[in-house]
Subunit: 150 residues, 2 copies
């Protein structure tokens, strides 16, 4: 896809990440765009805010989009490389493309998704990386909890 | 693990699947047990009931368990082989074991989990299989929507 378009869509995910940060949460945001470019759903990690470990940014955006008959042609945009949980979501539902803000602070399952035919657009966004780097430095235990490291 | 114990735990997941069926939903249930055998959370697929595609049985049980510092030693019990989304959940959070009612009507990611060190206890439960077989025959489109087939 066009990288300028990817960057534009990423701004929605970054807005979500910043909303999460302002709420005292983990600053990861995501948005699901339809094949025609319509925004279907957006959301951010809600572990802290709702005490809900199932709401990663990608699953929050997926949930916000509601029931869809097909995910063909859709794009999941996320500020951070998707973990196995969120990568599994993408693979199971046939989401066609993932736009990733950065994969420096955390490297999830996007290589596996690429092997299984998902288009991966990996941006090297400094703002996304700074958000996570600062958060991890300040709250290492919370971050580890969110990715199941202990 | 002891298979009699696995069958006992499976009854909780089957109860959840039947609750879902009674609500007009997809009859898949799950339960998360702690390392000491405590029931941490239980739930069932809520796509129809809540219009929420993110709540598969396993993610519902995981959510119901709330935040946990570690999933080491925990067991996810599910009436049906976990899809990629739910398999990704198990891998990311380090859930140690998955007890599966049946993998005949749907074969998800449990072989992949076994390759990555998760203990898989595959029961060949006739009740679980009958629940899904009847449901899929009656509602094929809804089932396909739930697993992203279109």
């Amino acid at each position: 896809m066009d990288r300028a378009q990817a960057h534009t869509w990423l701004t929605t995910a970054i807005e979500e990440a910043r909303l999460g940060l302002d709420e005292g949460g983990i600053p990861i945001g995501a948005a699901l765009y339809g094949a025609d470019g319509t925004l279907l759903g957006r959301g951010h990690n809600r572990r802290v805010q709702d005490g809900d470990p199932s709401l990663h940014a990608e699953t929050a955006a997926f949930r916000a989009a509601g029931r869809q008959r097909s995910y063909r042609g859709t794009t999941m945009v996320t500020t951070l490389s998707p973990c196995w949980y969120c990568s599994g979501l993408v693979r199971q539902f046939g989401i066609s493309r993932v736009v990733i803000g950065e994969a420096v602070t955390f490297h999830g399952g996007h290589d596996w998704l690429a092997e299984h035919g998902v288009e991966i657009v990996l941006l090297d966004d400094a703002e996304c990386a700074a958000l996570m780097r600062d958060f991890i430095a300040a709250h290492p235990a919370l971050w580890n909890e969110d990715i199941g490291v202990n």
